[in-house]
């Protein structure tokens, strides 16, 4: 029962009924007041006419007494005639000695003109008071009429309204409940379907009856979330597969080298070589795991940026100098130019790591005697560091993937020269963490430009 009460459609229906109840009660009340006042007005009009008739029936006797010629008139006559000075001159027999309200006051004889009151015999009457000229004498005439008929009529109206209210509410409630049930039914089916979607069926989507209504919006948003989830999941699967491959390769090398050495025996020199070769693989694994750790921490946003002012030209020069010998070995030229005063707010170590990775990449892929140009500048308010290599270029379809983990354009170029395949991923993360991005532009046979774009105001990135 408690569970039933908490469903949205029940809550909606209850809310709907409560609101309707308040509205209906207000409506009934105001209608009643309005009708009651209308009835009273009507009654006063007819009372006015009656009074006029009665006035014509009043006659003043020579002795100063008053006679009312009721003749053959039917019904009850409730009539009083007062002198202007406030004495009761005449009272009809039907009043049986009761007064129609308080005695008339001399100062303000006709007040109040109309009023309702209850006589001693429990009769509810409407009384009208009016001055009248009788010959040369001023009198005040008070006529009363029973309100019974009016009250009965009004009572029927109120009864009808009171009885109708719960019936209307019940009807509205039932209808409202089913309308809500119907409107929310797609939600139920969406929930059922969503429950069935798990890691193995991430490609499934919710079926939307009407994508344009509110539920449709919800469903669309849910489907978009699912799509992103599916994409991330695919990336994760790909990453896991790549990572295990990268981890397995050095492990395989170590294993076979060790096994062969055990089988062959051999002298100390040979064993030294074997152990050395295994240690090389261990170093490779260590580097790989170090890089994976950085990416894992970056992914979970656990690398806080140590922000400070960073001079970009100086940082680029420092990174290039670090790798200068590699370029020298290949007789490549490295040129660095740009605005010396250009600074950004950021984490020096992380930005340096990104620059080192990209310059390293440029040295690696530029041919011997090639040239590498590093340029620091601004564009549209962003700080730029462009690293142009003279490598073979990268086909457009690979551009987006260059920054993916373990991605290598040239599949054959693995390990050894190729590095861990994580450098550019880490660089990409580092620049993104600063709210920037790395753009890649390649030219036919004249190399690629990696353009690091950083916001100059040092606006915060996603993982700060």
């Amino acid at each position: 029962m408690a569970r039933f009460r908490t469903t949205l459609r029940t809550r909606l229906t209850l809310l709907y009924i409560s609101l309707l109840c308040v509205v209906l009660v207000l409506y009934a009340a105001s209608t009643s007041i309005f009708v009651w006042q209308g009835l009273l007005r009507q009654m006063d009009l007819s009372l006015d006419r009656d009074l006029e008739t009665v006035e014509n029936l009043i006659a003043l006797m020579p002795d100063g007494s008053i006679v009312v010629n009721t003749g053959d008139q039917e019904g009850v006559l409730l009539l009083e005639v007062w002198s202007a000075s406030g004495t009761l001159i005449y009272q009809s027999a039907d009043l049986k000695g009761q007064l129609l309200g308080a005695p008339v006051k001399k100062e303000d004889p006709t007040h109040p003109a109309n009023r309702s009151l209850r006589l001693a015999n429990k009769m509810q009457v409407r009384v009208m008071t009016r001055p009248h000229r009788l010959g040369n004498q001023s009198v005040v005439v008070r006529l009363g009429v029973s309100e019974n008929a009016l009250r009965v009529e009004f009572g029927q109206l109120v009864a009808a309204l009171t009885l109708g209210l719960p019936i209307a509410l019940l009807l509205a409630g039932v209808t409202g409940y089913f309308v809500a049930l119907r409107a929310l039914r797609p939600l139920d089916s969406m929930a059922r379907r969503a429950k069935q979607i798990n890691a193995e069926h991430l490609n499934e989507r919710l079926v939307l009856e009407n994508p344009d209504d509110e539920l449709g919006h919800l469903g669309t948003a849910f489907n978009e979330t699912l799509a992103r989830l599916e994409h991330s999941f695919e990336q994760l699967k790909q990453f896991t597969a790549d990572a295990s491959h990268e981890l397995r390769t050095p492990l395989t090398a170590m294993r076979s080298v060790g096994e062969v050495a055990l089988q062959n025996g051999g002298d100390t020199q040979y064993h030294h070589d074997v152990i050395g070769s295994m240690l090389e693989e261990v170093n490779r694994l260590t580097h790989l795991v170090d890089n994976l750790m950085i990416l894992a921490r970056a992914d979970s946003g656990r690398i806080p940026l140590q922000r400070g002012e960073v001079g970009l030209l100086e940082l680029a020069t420092e990174s290039a100098v670090l790798l200068e010998v590699l370029a020298e070995e290949k007789k490549q030229s490295v040129q660095i130019e740009g605005d010396e005063s250009l600074t950004v707010i950021g984490d020096r170590l992380i930005l340096r790591q990104a620059l080192v990775a990209i310059i390293h990449n440029a040295v690696k892929y530029s041919p011997p005697q090639g040239s590498i140009r590093v340029r620091v500048g601004t564009r549209n308010g962003d700080a730029l560091v462009e690293i142009h290599d003279s490598g073979p270029g990268i086909a457009r379809e690979h551009h987006a993937k260059v920054f993916e983990r373990f991605y290598r354009v040239d599949k054959a170029r693995t390990r050894g020269e190729g590095g861990s395949g994580l450098g550019l991923s880490i660089a990409d993360w580092g620049v993104r963490a600063h709210g920037g991005q790395i753009e890649l532009e390649c030219y036919e046979h004249s190399g690629c430009t990696f353009r690091i774009r950083l916001p100059q105001n040092g606006s915060s990135g996603p993982s700060s």
């Binding site: 030294h272 070589d273 152990i275 050395g276 070769s277 295994m278 240690l279 090389e280 261990v282 170093n283 260590t286 580097h287 170090d290 890089n291 750790m293 950085i294 921490r297 656990r302 670090l322 790798l323 010998v325 590699l326 020298e328 070995e329 170590l349 790591q353 080192v356 990775a357 390293h360 590095g419 450098g423 880490i426």
Partner: protein, 227 residues
């Protein structure tokens, strides 16, 4: 030198023990935090190598308690977590140095030597190996009395190798101590190899007796012995 190793992983513990014993040190191995704490507080050691991840009582807790009891022995922490918070946590607890697993054994030895040397002022003004001489004040390097021109980086590299002569120096140590690179992910291996090759050209090429040696899979060593 008496060294206490607290390490729960048997293979690592055994390798460390044997490696340091081969070096002529007296080594005690404890496999739990409790044992380590008991040994450290009841015996006197010159150095303690303490693993952070220990069953029961963590290395950090052991270290804090030891320091609270006023134990002044230099402590080197071994940690598998390479993040700034972990380092700060370890150093705050009273560690003198830390090393991230996996580490190169020569680096561990170098760190331990550095810890023992700590506080002692060095007055070395020149380094020497065979006929190779390095004057640290004039920055003059000679072999067989013939001067050798070195760049600043090459000088620093040779100085580091000379200070560690007869011992293997890993690329990690060079990256950290010569290149002052704190980030393990920076790809310096190729850079270091090129510098070593250049140094070798200048120091060894014209001489019959080669001094710069490559120890495959580990690093480099400056030594007069052929092996």
């Amino acid at each position: 030198m008496k060294i206490l190793i607290v390490e729960d992983e048997p293979k690592v513990g055994k390798a460390l023990t044997e490696g340091l014993k081969a070096n002529g040190d007296e080594v005690t191995l404890a496999q739990t935090g409790e044992d380590g704490f008991f040994l450290a507080s009841s015996h006197s050691f010159d150095l303690i190598v303490l693993d952070v991840m220990l069953p029961g009582r963590s290395g950090i807790e052991v270290l804090k308690t030891l320091r609270k009891q006023g134990l002044q022995v230099p402590v080197l922490l071994l940690t598998a977590k390479d993040s700034i918070e972990d380092r700060v946590l370890g150093l705050d607890a009273g560690a003198d140095d830390y090393l991230v697993k996996p580490f190169a054994f020569p680096e561990l030895r170098a760190r331990l030597r550095a810890l023992l040397r700590r506080g002692k002022t060095e007055t070395i003004v020149s380094l020497k190996l065979g006929t190779l001489e390095m004057d640290l004040t004039t920055r003059l390097v000679t072999r067989d009395a013939r001067p050798i021109e070195l760049t600043v980086r090459e000088f620093e590299l040779l100085e580091f190798l000379l200070r560690n002569k007869g011992r293997v120096v890993s690329r990690e140590m060079l990256a950290r101590d010569v290149w002052k690179e704190s980030n393990r992910a920076t790809p310096l291996d190729n850079v270091i190899d090129v510098h070593i090759a250049r140094l070798r050209r200048k120091v060894d090429d014209e001489f019959e007796r080669k001094l710069v040696r490559t120890v495959r899979g580990v690093g480099f060593m400056l030594s007069e012995d052929e092996r």
